[in-house]
Amino acid sequence: MVNVSFRKVKKQYENGFTAVNELNLEINEGEFLVLLGPSGCGKSTTLRMLAGLEDVTSGEISIGNAKVNDLPPGARGIGMVFQSYALYPHMSISDNLSFGLRMMKGEDRKSDDEISKLINETATMLGLSDELEKKPKQLSGGQRQRVALGRALIKRPRVLLMDEPLSNLDAELRQQMRIEIRRLHDELKMTTVYVTHDQIEAMTIADRIAVLNEGELQQHGPPMEVYKNPANSFIEGFLCAHLNEIVDTANSLFGGEEE
């Protein structure tokens, strides 16, 4: 269990565009933090910097008490779920899950028995036991999503990163997976950073949400607190007004019948 911290983190691209500006954020051990914001607000860039897939222009990112700015992604002890799942198309599900473990070298390398035990554990946990020999193409969207999650979890990462993991699923599956992800987090208690643009998703899944806009952190805190005490007009428009509108719509649809 580790904490994650961003200190004055800045990301500027070569063309001068600043994606993330002076981000200061602490994520506690075992916390489920959601980065929320409209598209292009820098939330995915923040996550990718934490993963090591993007360079940090300035500032410091640490996991635990080690600065990780320049560590290769594989050295950071993270697991990541991609929006497009990014499964290895030519490998079976069991190979997809275990590829990272099998490719390890040196003292960290687990024995084949341990690996197959881990595969089975993970598959059982995610309900994939019957699909292990299939290829990703043969699975449904929801199942692929589970495989992506399993691949991130099988290494027992210190931090779990999720980049809009549910956006490619239909509404019903999304609901179901949201509950499942939260359940897994409560079970494994690993520090989790979750990126989404969906306000409802953020409100229902997070311990704490951090709202970004145009590369700046607007506000962070437990969901209801942010909702009740919006720090500025952006939050009010993006989060509060949006949620209120949904509630109003629901009321106007169903309110009449109940009365």
Partner: protein
């Protein structure tokens, strides 16, 4: 090359102490002996000595020295005991010699196929083959004694008058009849199909059959008909003298093909040639495609354009240019600081033709693989990075397996093309060195040998049989290859 070298050294050692060059006193040429052939007779002033070498030089201008001429062949004077003496008609360049007693006997042939006449011969009569017909050519003979004295005869001009049109006139009507009936039946077929569409009430495609009719007609008459005709030819005795009146002879031609001396050698070399070439094309193509596959590479367009040149330049030109580079006086020796005559040595020539074809084929594979590389999902590599997979393993376990679906058809296509790559071999070596009579040369591949059988020997039936054999080989190979690669795909 080594063997030639050793032989030269040995002959020098043996023959150092002897005599003067025989002067050539009479030289005559006759252009009427056969298709693309010229008869050449020369006599010497004195009986020739052991070790004398006659070189026959050919040029399109009068020969005053050999710098502007090409060597056609050689005749050696030496010990003839124990080496073969083929009858007239059994070898290229039939040669007879006059041993001094006024009788003409066929020359002997040593292991390289060089003509050998016995010591004391005073005249040689050769039928030179492979000369262009219809133009004036100049011939001269140069004699060299073992101690290096040489004498060049005056040059004599002649032209090979026989061109193949004059040999036989074929009856045209059966061909016209065959083509006509094929065309007619295709038209009727299209008409019937059109009528059936009409009956079924498909009106939107009213003109479809009309639109495809010209292409289908052309294809049937100019491709399918010749293919079928070729298959039929392979069972007949068609040759230069039997055309139009050829008759069915069963599988004799196929027996001739299988029993050709060197059948397995030429097939083997064709396989080596194709496999090595395709492997190199794909290997280097992949390497270059990956080197080019970077967004922030400076000068990418310039590199790509330069690397495309071997594809853009007409292949016959590239091949001839490479041949010039490999000539003993060519730039390659200058460049490497060596002194080789690769084209004169069987294995050297094999390596050379393969190298040239590798040069020709890389750009196509590079571009095709480039396209396939760009289609690979990028996020897959990011996932692997998070998984801690190093660069080499990413290539080995992600890039290669995912390229497989592109590489399998590409390699098959490349194999078929290379298998039938006529230009490189024909223009670089023409199958040589060491052209045996009645068999493929050292660098012949199947297709160049078929060309020789058909258009040098005029054995059309046998050539057609070779073509059928090649086609069957390709079909069997392609089928097994597809099956094998699909099978492994299902397993992984």
């Amino acid at each position: 090359m080594k063997r030639v070298f050793v032989i030269t050294i040995l002959s020098f050692l043996f023959l150092l102490p002897i005599g003067h060059a025989s002067e050539i006193i009479g030289i005559e040429a006759d252009g009427d002996v056969g298709y693309r052939q010229v008869g050449l007779i020369w006599t010497t002033d004195s009986p020739t000595e052991e070790g004398t070498l006659f070189e026959i030089w050919v040029s399109n201008a009068s020969i005053v020295d050999t710098a502007n001429a090409t060597k056609h062949s050689e005749v050696r004077v030496g010990n003839v005991s124990g080496i073969i003496q083929p009858d007239i008609g059994e070898w290229y360049d039939d040669c007879l010699f006059d041993s001094g007693e006024g009788d003409w006997t066929p020359v002997h042939r040593d292991l390289d196929g060089t003509a050998v006449v016995s010591v004391g011969a005073i005249g040689v009569n050769c039928t030179l083959t492979g000369l262009p017909s219809g133009i004036e050519i100049y011939l001269a003979v140069k004699s060299t004694t073992p101690n290096g004295e040489s004498f060049l005869s005056s040059s004599i001009s002649s032209s090979s008058t026989m061109s193949d049109e004059e040999i036989i006139v074929i009856e045209t009507s059966p061909y016209v009849f065959a083509i006509g009936s094929i065309a007619l039946s295709v038209l009727i077929l299209l008409f019937v199909l059109r009528w059936m569409d009409y009956r079924d009430g498909r009106t939107t495609s009213r003109f479809a059959h009309l639109y495809i009719a010209p292409a289908i007609l052309a294809l049937s008459v100019l491709t399918f008909y010749p293919v079928l005709y070729g298959i039929w030819l392979s069972f007949t005795n068609a040759d230069q003298s039997h055309l139009g009146d050829q008759s069915f002879i069963g599988i004799d031609n196929f027996i001739t093909v299988i029993s050709t001396s060197g059948f397995f050698r030429v097939t083997g070399f064709t396989l080596i040639w194709s496999v090595v070439n395709v492997a190199a094309h794909i290997g280097f193509g992949l390497l270059l495609a990956m080197a080019l596959n970077s967004d922030d590479l400076k000068g990418k367009t310039a590199y790509r354009t330069a690397l495309l040149l071997p594809w853009a330049i007409p292949s016959y030109i590239s091949v001839l240019v490479w041949r010039g580079l490999y000539e003993p006086a060519g730039a390659l020796n200058d460049f490497l600081g060596t002194n080789m005559n690769l084209l004169a040595d069987a294995n050297g020539a094999r390596i050379v033709v393969i190298l040239v074809n590798i040069w020709l084929g890389i750009p196509f594979m590079m571009m095709s693989i480039s396209g396939a590389l760009q289609a690979l999902p990028k996020d897959m590599y990011e996932a692997a990075e998070v998984d801690g997979i190093n660069k080499f393993s990413r290539f080995r376990y992600l890039t290669l397996p995912n390229l497989k679906s592109a590489l399998v058809p590409l390699s098959l296509l490349g194999f078929i093309w290379t298998f039938n790559m006529f230009n490189v071999i024909y223009l670089m070596t023409d199958g040589g060195p060491n052209l045996d009579f009645d068999g493929p040369g050292s660098t012949d591949i199947l297709i160049t040998y078929v060309y020789d059988v058909a258009f040098r020997d005029g054995a059309y039936g046998v050539a057609a049989a070779w073509s059928v054999v090649i086609f069957v080989m390709l079909v069997v190979f392609s089928w097994t290859y597809m099956k094998k690669t699909n099978a492994t795909e299902a397993v992984t």
